[in-house]
């Protein structure tokens, strides 16, 4: 089994009296797309900066691409990873090609090989024809793509993407998401911080929710199961005369709640088994069934549940 691409143990970062994040312990597998979610100020960007050796942790240890975070290991570690900050950070007076050529030099790519690498990176993000354009003349979406091309130059083992679709319109966001999906096929480990939950759900193998401390880590499906009991939504044309007797007649159902006229949620450990039984019981009770389906929890539900728990705790 491959060693984890990222391994953090008890990682903490304080800025004076303020704690950016505390006691982070997690692993990211090689080739995994790992989502890092959290509200503003949760410590996501600081985590990326610490793992990218831009700033030092206050305590704890971490290893990225097999290199430990340590005094003096910065250049080696940074040669194996690439970081795309939220701001594309392009030199606006230089062409896209010149921008990438500069970074190819910083990554130590020989000039003889740089041209081919730059054009290949631009081609990957669909910008080969814009190589000669000044970065200042590009839209934000194109700058973001050029910035992504820049991170691909060094053929990194781990790619940190900090809010890659922030401020982009839906079309540009979709293009960037497609590029990230493309990276998965190249076996690059992607550490993605984002506010966009649907983006995380679509792209990430696993996600972590951070709010100064790590709240959960897992696959979106597993997190849904951990945080929410399975439930079946029942809609009938008219309210049931005696819902307790209908729902109570089905063996594996638990508590039920009424959300409106003819709208019920029935807890069930195994919806696949219970749903047909429930359908029969409803028909037997003379109900006109409009809808009978498992309640789908989204990642947003998971996220809001966790963040709201934190708000409650703070109160």
């Amino acid at each position: 089994m491959d060693a984890p691409a990222i391994r953090a143990t008890g990682l903490t970062k304080d800025f004076g009296q303020r704690t950016a994040f505390r006691d982070l312990t997690f692993e990211v597998g090689t080739g995994e797309v790992f989502g890092f979610l959290g509200p503003n100020g949760a410590g996501k960007t600081t985590t990326v900066r610490v793992l990218g050796t831009l700033i030092r942790p206050t305590s704890g240890t971490a290893e990225v691409a097999g290199v430990p975070l340590a005094e003096g290991s910065g250049p080696e570690l940074r040669s194996l990873v690439a970081v795309m900050p939220e701001n594309p950070g392009m030199y606006l007076r230089l062409t896209v090609y010149d921008n990438l050529e500069y970074f190819a030099g910083l990554y130590g790519i020989p000039r003889s090989a740089a041209r081919e690498r730059i054009l290949a990176s631009l081609d990957t993000v669909g910008m080969a024809s814009r190589a000669g354009d000044f970065a200042g003349s590009l839209s934000k979406g194109l700058r973001q793509r050029a910035s992504l091309a820049r991170t691909l130059l060094s053929d990194p083992r781990v790619l940190f993407l900090d809010e890659p679709t922030s401020g982009l319109d839906p079309v540009a966001s979709r293009e960037v998401r497609e590029l990230i999906e493309g990276l998965r096929t190249h076996g690059v480990t992607v550490f993605l911080t984002t506010h966009r939950l649907e983006e995380a759900e679509r792209l990430c193998d696993r996600i972590a929710v951070l709010n100064t401390t790590l709240r959960v880590v897992g696959r979106p499906d597993d997190l849904r199961r951990q945080l929410f009991e399975s439930a079946i939504e029942v809609r009938t044309a008219r309210p049931l005369a005696d819902p307790s007797s209908v729902f109570g007649s089905v063996g594996a159902t638990g508590a039920w709640t009424q959300d409106g006229d003819g709208v019920y949620q029935v807890r069930a450990r195994d919806p696949a088994t219970v749903t047909p039984e429930l359908a029969r019981a409803l028909v037997a009770a003379g109900a006109d069934v409009l809808r009978l389906a498992e309640v789908q929890r989204t990642l947003e539900d998971v996220y809001l549940q966790l963040v709201n728990e934190d708000v409650e705790v703070q109160r």
Binding site: F15, R18, A20, T45, T46, R49, G52, L54, I55, R56, G74, P75, E76, R78, S79, V81, A82, V83, M84, P85, N87, P88, G89, M90, Y91, L92, R93, L94, D98, E101, Y102, F103, A104, G105, L106, Y107, G108, P110, S147, R150, S154
Partner: protein, 242 residues
């Protein structure tokens, strides 16, 4: 020079060339500066007292050092803050480039054009003196110590100036303020040169070489200071979001 320093130097020169403010400053400041020695030397007549002529030539030679001293501060002020303002510093700091490689590349990008301009102006001045000035002016300007002073002092002053500018740039958050402070901070060095230009210290080759050694020591100390100040974490988090 490492390949990464070369990459920084190439990019800096490319970027500076396209920065209209910097280009305008690099063109007009030297033109303005060179007017002083040209006009003052033109005003010297054959019968003028020697002390007066010495003062005029001293003032003229001193003005040459304004170019390598002031011009780099304009570039240095932009070097770190300008990058931070346009958000380019963070991506650069995520690469394997070492602080020393980045700083030396940036310093060379400021020193090379400024010293080239200073040398060019001095060549024009010497040609002008040889062809148009009175013999006493020619005699004073053609002293070997003067030539050595210009050749050695110009790059050393430029280097000092760029380190001061970078140190202020690292600590500041406004390009204009950094440029002005850097200019002010570099000016005292002109006093040291004035001792030589106005012959308060007898301008011999030995004194010129000793002055150059002193400047080199000051440059080295300034480099150590800038290296210590250039901390990735402080630069990224002091003014940016954490």
């Amino acid at each position: 020079m490492t390949p990464r320093t070369r990459a920084v130097l190439r990019k800096e020169l490319r970027d500076l060339r396209r920065n209209k403010f910097i280009v305008a400053t690099m063109v007009f400041l030297p033109l303005f500066v060179i007017l002083i020695p040209f006009l003052s030397v033109l005003g010297v007549k054959a019968g003028d007292p020697e002390s007066t002529v010495r003062n005029v030539v001293g003032g003229a030679s001193l003005s040459f050092f304004l170019v390598p001293l002031i011009l780099p501060t304009v570039i240095a002020g932009y070097a770190v803050i300008g990058e931070r303002e346009q958000g380019t510093l963070e991506p650069v700091l995520t690469t394997p480039v070492r602080e020393s490689e980045l700083l030396i590349g940036k310093a060379l990008a400021a020193v090379v054009p400024c010293v080239s301009i200073a040398y060019g102006l001095y060549v024009v001045y010497r040609v002008w003196v040889v062809s148009a000035a009175v013999p006493l002016v020619q005699h004073l300007v053609n002293q070997p110590s003067q030539l050595i002073a210009v050749i050695l002092f110009a790059p050393l002053l430029s280097t000092f100036s760029i380190w001061v500018g970078l140190a202020i740039s690292v600590r500041s958050n406004d390009v204009r303020v950094a440029q002005q402070l850097s200019g002010l901070a570099a000016l005292p060095m002109l006093g040291l040169i004035a001792l030589f230009s106005f012959r308060i210290l007898t301008p011999t080759v030995t004194v010129a070489l000793a002055g150059a050694v002193l400047l080199a020591v000051i440059d080295l100390a300034a480099w150590r200071l800038v290296s210590a100040l250039f901390d990735r974490e402080r630069i990224l988090t002091r003014y940016g979001s954490a």
